[in-house]
């Protein structure tokens, strides 16, 4: 029995070939403010992903052109949609802002990306 099991384990190992690196799974589907869009002062950034995500291992950082962080360090999962994350913001002045996000989907794969939006004057 032990001989048989060792043979199977060896076969499983020998059968392995080069493995591709893990790639992205949950893509950013759309956001508010929209990617590259121009808005009045938003109170939060909302991101919708292509798959359900795990908030506990996800993060979003919003910075201005000077690199100052303008989110309050929290992300809030939408209670009705596991594909949606909300990021409360501090008051924003007119200018260009960058959103850097990373998420882990429920099938445990990590993705990351970034986009910009503009806060219009007035």
């Amino acid at each position: 029995m032990l001989r048989l099991l060792c043979r199977f384990a060896l076969s499983a190992t020998v059968a392995s070939v080069g493995i591709a690196a893990a790639e992205a799974h949950a893509f950013l589907d759309h956001a508010s403010p929209t990617v590259g869009g121009e808005v009045a002062r938003p109170a939060e950034v909302t991101l919708w992903f292509s798959e359900e995500v795990e908030p506990i291992f996800s993060g979003v950082i919003v910075t201005n052109a000077a690199g100052d962080r303008l989110d309050d360090g929290k992300i809030v999962a939408d209670p009705h949609n596991a594909q949606e994350l909300h990021v409360p913001l501090k008051p924003l002045w007119p200018g260009v802002y960058k959103v850097q996000w990373h998420v882990v989907s429920v099938d445990t794969h990590r993705t990351e990306g970034d986009f910009s939006f503009t806060v219009a004057p007035g």
Binding site: M1, L4, V17, I19, A26, F27, E52, F57, V106, T108
Partner: protein
Amino acid sequence: MPDLFLATARAIHYAALAQFAGLFVFLRVVIGAAPSPLSDVDSAALRRRFLRLAWMSLVMITLSGAAWLALEGVAITDEPLSAVFHNGVITALLGGTRFGHDLEIRAALATIAALLLALPGRDGTHRQVALLLLGAGMLGGAAWMGHAAAIAGEAGDLHIVVDTLHLFAIACWIGGLLPLALTFTAAGSTPDATWTRGFCVVTRRFSTLGFWSVGTVLATGVINAWFLIDGPASLLGTSYGRWLLAKIILFLAAVAIAGVNRLSLTPRLGHGEASAAATCALRRNALLELVLGCAIFWVIGVLGLLPPAMHAMAAT
């Protein structure tokens, strides 16, 4: 390097789950219907081997599950393995993710299965059925950890059901091969007319079980491909597609061997000298199918780390 270990941990976990569930399907569906002594599992040596196989499967489920948890922590956080154990990542995974909850449920089911196995007394129908259901439950939970779980809505629910059927059919087929090989070995060392009759029944029933299992694997595999593949171009144009092709090739090779077993070797059983040669060939082929099955599980382990071809094509 972590990806290689992660794929291996996943492959061993799936293989051990399939082996555990497949063993009890074999005992209830194949052995259970055979004439005595096989239906009573009278052979003490064979019973001990089946019990040992069940225990080894549970141990592998537990060890590979623990390894998968740790390596997943490394993959998600990009921190070294030692840091993952000390900075709360394991706790967060177990308490805060679907993956962790699923592992906890599977650990609970494995614990109940271990208690049932450890109970003294004869291996009766009720215990085997309970262990079969526990094995099926653990397998079903595995579907909640794959790509199907990440799809929201009714499409995701359907995909999970299809994935569960796919895994269970693989378990009935691949998971039954080692018990079948053990039965061949016992039959070979017990040249008794009653054993031979019972053994012929076992082989024919496993052949039928294998036929329906392969059919289910094929049908559910096609449905899964519809969810995950975006046309023939993605089979060659994405990593996921190429690995899926490898899985299909391994599957076809195993089916070819199963076809030889069913159409050529099984009919020769119970007919004099041809029966002995057929028995040896069936045992050899069962082990060969099992090796291919191990390779299939390895590819399953890899596929779970890659974005489905449909997503990869959309990203490009």
